[in-house]
Amino acid sequence: MIAIRVQEEDFDLAAEAAKLREGATGAIATFTGVVRGDASLSLEHYPGMTEREIARHVEDARARWPIQGVTVIHRIGHLPPGANIVLVAVASAHREAAFRACEFLIDYLKTRAPFWKQQGGDWVEARESDEAALDKWR
């Protein structure tokens, strides 16, 4: 099962993980990104390109590891401190594929999926370290 969603609404980690258990056995790795600090974020994206870009990397992950299911949810709009931003969940028979695919997907999502964050009226700058994180997948 592959699910990719861009939405304003919050997501429920337990409910999303439960969906991945249907049919999948062995291991489920999840990553949840949360708004840090004490300032709200505002997120916009490029509808149409975002979903396609995430789907491309999910396919790439499936070619690299034996994956049973993937869920990627990215929120947009106004997100207060402590709010969920993004969920990447991967189901596989074994932990290594689940962990690695999960990390691969969030690394690519951060550097390739067309989202832009604004915090306290300023646009958040992209970080070199995020781009450098891709080196381990090349």
């Binding site: 990104g33 997120l43 916009e44 994206h45 490029y46 149409g48 390109m49 396609r52 870009e53 990215h74 931003i85 993004v86 969030i106 999502l109 951060k110 550097t111 390739r112 999926a113 067309p114 989202f115 832009w116 964050k117 604004q118 646009w123 958040v124 700058e125 992209a126 995020d130």
Partner: protein
């Protein structure tokens, strides 16, 4: 062609989307960028420093030397900051 602007590019330009005829003599993203910059005002500001910009043609990341045609959708934006 359709032009899309995101984040501070959108704010500086003052709009998120517009339709323009492929400018005469423009055949690449960099040519288009130079044409946009030459419009002056918010465009000159938004497109002043190409090193701060990224682009996509028909919803795929590409370099500035990529070709553009009359029916393309071209987007300009800062480096992405999702996740």
């Amino acid at each position: 062609m359709t032009l899309l602007y995101f984040a501070w590019v959108r704010q500086k330009v003052g709009r998120s989307e517009e339709t323009v005829d492929l400018p005469q003599g423009v055949s690449s993203v960099s040519g288009l960028l130079a044409w946009l910059r030459a419009r002056g005002g918010g465009y000159a500001d938004a497109f002043a420093d190409p090193a701060r910009l990224r682009c996509a043609v028909n919803r795929e990341h590409t370099s500035f030397d990529a070709p553009v045609g009359a029916n393309d959708e071209v987007a300009f934006f800062p480096p992405v900051t999702g996740g």
